[in-house]
């Protein structure tokens, strides 16, 4: 049994006076892919964004409860958000490369965190990140072209490369394939499977097939509550909760 990497305990989230998450407790294991599934508006993205404190950006959002990453509490005003986020990469629903060259997109993280001493180091990090994201061979001759000139799937892999360039331990993915075509989706899914050897991955997805294909653990959210969490195989074949059963068989959602 692997170690727990993220440990959530009784997490409540409010948007203004509206409660979006109700006492979420969850144990996310190291070097596994955990999928968060559930109908739209069930709070799975909100929970994901608690893990790297992304909800701080929303003025009216209030988070309470406890989330521990590597046994360190992160829901606290004394948390160093910058170092937390450098440890937790994030990939968004829509590919969001910066309006910079492909090289600079990947180099952005290492540069602001001062991870590199020399230009050669930087080049090495950029190349290896692009290789890990499976993009290097496609772009190695045009690293100076703008990141926005790539196709949607390539842009998303560029964003993955950008996230892993700062050497994170956890990667959060918020519906990373929802804006992509099936071929690009298949490439990203393969990539997720490789990345899991080195990173702990939490992925929010609308596609149950995707959850079944890429994840080892699956958690089902409904109306802001965590209904059931467990091995992906079990959730998809023999769930304990009847709501989970209804959702995965397509009776609602």
């Amino acid at each position: 049994m692997s170690n727990s990497k993220i440990l959530a305990n009784g997490v409540d989230v409010y948007y203004g006076s509206k409660q979006a998450l109700f006492g979420i407790s969850m144990d996310i294991k190291e070097k596994e892919v955990t999928a968060l599934i559930g109908p739209s508006g069930c709070g799975k993205s909100t929970f994901l964004r608690c893990i790297n404190r992304m909800n701080d950006l929303i003025e009216i959002c209030k988070v309470s409860g406890s989330i521990k990453v590597d046994n360190e509490e992160i829901i606290s005003s004394s948390t160093d958000v910058v170092s937390l986020r450098s440890k937790i990469g994030m990939v968004f629903q829509k590919p969001n490369p910066f309006p910079k060259s492909i090289f600079d997109n990947v180099a952005y993280g290492p540069t602001i965190h001062g991870l590199v001493e020399s230009k050669n180091d930087l080049e090495e990090i950029v190349h290896s990140s692009l290789k890990k994201a499976g993009l290097f061979n496609e772009v190695k001759d045009r690293l100076n072209e703008p990141g926005t000139s790539l196709s949607g799937g390539q842009q998303q892999r560029l964003c993955i490369a950008r996230a892993i360039a700062v050497n994170p331990e956890i990667i959060l993915m918020d519906e990373p394939c929802s804006a992509l075509d099936p071929i690009a989706t298949a490439i990203i899914e393969e990539l997720i499977d490789e990345l899991r050897l080195n990173y702990t991955i939490v992925i929010v997805t609308h596609s149950m097939q995707q959850a079944a294909r890429v994840s080892q653990k699956t958690s089902f959210f409904h109306l802001g509550e965590l209904i059931e969490t467990g091995d992906t195989k079990k959730i998809f074949t023999n769930p304990d909760n009847s709501k989970t059963q209804d959702y995965i068989t397509g009776r609602f959602g």
């Binding site: 003025e59 990469g89 994030m90 490369p97 309006p99 950008r162």
Partner: protein, 457 residues
Amino acid sequence: MFFWSLVLIAVGIFSSFIYGRSRIKLNSKKQGTKSKSLPNYYAQYVLMWCLFPALIVYFSWAIFQEQIIQNIVISNFEFIEGAAYNEGLLIAEIRNVANNPSFAEGKSIEIINAASHYSSLRQISQISFYTSIIIIMLLGALYASQKLKPEFHAQHTIERYIQYILIFCSSVAIFTTIGIVFSLIFESLRFFAEVSIFEFLFSTEWYPFIPIREGQTAAEGSFGAVPIFAGTFLVMVVAMCVAAPLGLLTAIYLAEYASQRVRKIVKPLLEILAGIPTIVYGFFAFVSVAPFVKAFGQSIGIDASPTSALAAGMVMGVMIIPFISSLSDDVINSVPQSLREGSFGIGANKAETIKKVILPAALPGIVGAFLLAISRAIGETMIVVVAAGTAPNLTGNPFENVTTVTVQIVVALIGDQEFDNPRTLSAFALGLVLFVITLFLNIIALQIVKRYRERYE
């Protein structure tokens, strides 16, 4: 005449609408079929045919009537051999006598005859005006009423007419611009017929004084506009030095740091700044800022004049802050939130995100905002008239007084002078230069802003 014709047209509008509505209902009842469009569209159809031809007649009458009457009166006027006449004065005299019979005393018999001719022509004109308006309205309504059959698609036709009206309205602004440009060009050509274009653009002496009386040789005009362009440029540079940093930093604060509440208060406040009449800025510059600049200049050992490029430029800078801050704020706000999240997600802090992601993304739009502000600064008149001075002074020292293109245009047009000497005509040449410069700045700015929008929307 004006009032009663409006009443006439209003009656026409009302009755044609009612008529069209009841007529189509009657017709469709007679045929036993439902009309293709709602009754109101048929009513509008009749209304438009009743109204627009009448309006065209109305306006052409208003524009041409006086001119035509005057021409007839003048061509019938019994000129006395040997006497010199000024046509403009003559017309004015005739009209005065016609409008107010008490002026007739002591006027020559020719004038009095012409005046009565004038009055009778006016009367004829008025009567025929009313009759033709009424006839045109009736004809229009008649034509339209023939079409009031249930199988006629009134709605389609109305929509086409409305499209014509919209096209007409939008072309008014365009044609006005074209008209202004042409008048600028023609008057400038008259100026350049007397002053060489090379002297105007490259010579550095600006003494636009021409002899008023014949034989007065003390002043020879000289029209080298370089000092004026230089002064304009200097004031603009000072203004941008004030407005660019203040405006941009304000925009960054508003867009990235301010809470919703602060934003809601501060943004309208800044926009009020844009609503202050520029003459108010002008005397603020003259009364408060210029003496301060002078005192400051003296304290560091520079002899500053009471009106200076610095005072005018600084106040102008304050004036254009809202342009820059408001436009830049919009641009920064339209940088997608996903870029901010991407940057924060990597662990960047706010300053890094703004400096390395948001500003580069917003840069084209910000440049566009700057260019628009510059063109605004170049075209600004009142502040510089009051606070910069009128002496053409080729200098790079902002403590001295300089003059700008707009100021020289004002100076050239002040006083009652005919538009037949280079001094007044120079206003048009300067205006043309100003227009060309701001036009290019605006085109470039809008192009940049557009390209930026395409990238993110």
